[in-house]
Amino acid sequence: MLKKQCITVAVLTFAFPAVLWMGCEFGVNPLLFDGSPLRSTFTASTPGNLYADSAAVSLRNALSGVNKQVDSITVYNITLLIDNLKNGTQSSATLTGLGGIDGDTLVMLTNVPLSTFAVERSIFDPALRSLPSGGACSAYAAGVSYLNGLLKYPDALPTSVKLKVGGISSQNGLYCDVTLTLYTQVFVKSNQ
């Protein structure tokens, strides 16, 4: 009798939830994922004060680790890091230049000390618009718009895009690493 009761309870315990969850909907909206950061590091190594470089970056790398059908991707942050200063490059040296993607500018620096980006920092930080040193860093909406336009259709992503950096330093001899990182959100297709 007790065994029968236990079996009955066990069956009901597993049957009940199925009944209880009827009328509930799961996965009703697409899940959002953070895309893998798209990072490109440029090594400046020039005895002069002029520097320019470019690198191809695959936007598809943002989908690394996402194994669901992707609806769209958007950029929500871009950061800059200038570190690994060596061979006498001073952190107080200033840089005037730009970072861009294909033909569009993402960020413009005017007399910005290298120390401003000694730690990874968003180029959209409002405090960068007017620095204590008198310099300024401006992020360009056109560049962001161009990037989001490319990412809007993941199935038609170009093989790669060209990230470029370049500028003039206030001191001769510029030896450092410049890292530009794109942070994205990945929208997967709904189950509904």
Partner: protein, 291 residues
């Protein structure tokens, strides 16, 4: 309770990480608290429901009842939204967005045309249900024990899980025989573990009252309760460095609850249903066999 969590861990091709866990891991500790709070409140309310259906406890006698108890927490509009903070470089002002039970997440606008979209709600339901087997055994010196236990071995994408609960109820009526209603007090503790991501505990103590009319018993109670859900995961969201570990304790906001219900005693078969009102409203129903 296991089933409540199970339904939020959908099948995926990877056992070690499923989409729900991935979504959670991208929320900062503050935002995951808000996103999951209604789930934690419902979880806690369910864990602390359905533990009794009468305050009558004999002084000495054989009492054994095996039940399956179903509970559900009502998901209202308040459980569908919370105030979240967008990440830098977005303006640091709270944005009302969807919880796990809500709709589409809100979008925060930032400089230079940037936008950040908060996580979307994933579950559309009017009730967050659970079910658990339960055994009540007694009566010795006006005392009963209540036990809940359900292990689920690892299968497919669902990790190894276990729920265990134990409680004790003691008759107060044996000290107040002239009171026309049955009185009892109870203390309960439960714990739940699902894989490596979720661990939860709940406890409550309270006063129970009941009055029987032939086969029907009206019962109720007032209890103080608490529930804590611990999340342990590696944060992969904005600004993260590899391997950043988040250990988060989410506390249910339920504290006091008033319970009222009805029990139908058909000798070896027992049916009961009750509703409890606190920070959230929960209902439970039980089907039991035994004496």
């Amino acid at each position: 309770m296991l089933w409540s969590a199970f339904t939020l861990i959908p099948l995926s091709s990877s056992f070690s990480q499923n989409p729900f866990e991935t979504a959670i891991k991208q929320l900062s500790s503050d935002n995951v608290r808000g996103y999951l709070q209604p789930f934690v409140d419902g979880f806690g309310a369910n864990m602390n429901s359905g533990l009794y259906h009468t305050a009558e406890i004999g002084d000495l006698g054989f009492h054994l009842q095996i039940q399956v108890v179903a509970m559900g927490t009502i998901i209202g509009d308040a459980e569908k939204v919370y105030d979240a903070m967008p990440p830098s470089p977005f303006p640091q002002t709270p944005v009302q967005t969807a919880t796990v039970f809500g709709g589409v997440g809100s979008t925060a606008s930032g400089p230079a045309g940037l936008s950040y979209h908060f996580q979307n709600g994933q579950v559309r339901t009017a009730v967050m249900p659970s079910a658990i087997p339960q055994m009540t055994i007694g009566d010795v010196a006006g005392t009963q024990a209540v036990v809940r236990y359900m292990p689920i071995p690892q299968f497919d994408q669902f990790p190894k899980s276990e729920i265990f609960g134990i409680g004790v109820r003691h008759s107060i009526s044996r000290y107040l025989p002239n009171v026309p209603v049955d009185l009892a007090a109870g203390l309960f503790y439960e714990r739940l573990a699902i894989g490596d991501l979720i661990a939860a505990t709940a406890m409550n103590f309270g006063a129970h009252v009941s009055r029987s009319f032939s086969m029907i018993t009206l019962y109720g109670g007032l209890q103080y309760e608490s529930a804590t859900m611990s999340l342990n995961y590696t944060y992969t969201g904005p600004g993260s460095t590899p391997g950043t570990t988040v250990s988060l304790d989410l506390e249910s906001e339920n504290r006091f609850r008033l319970i009222t219900g009805l029990n139908l005693n058909l000798f070896v078969l027992n049916l009961n249903a009750d509703i409890s009102i606190g920070k959230v409203t929960a209902v439970s129903a039980g089907l039991g066999f035994g004496l």
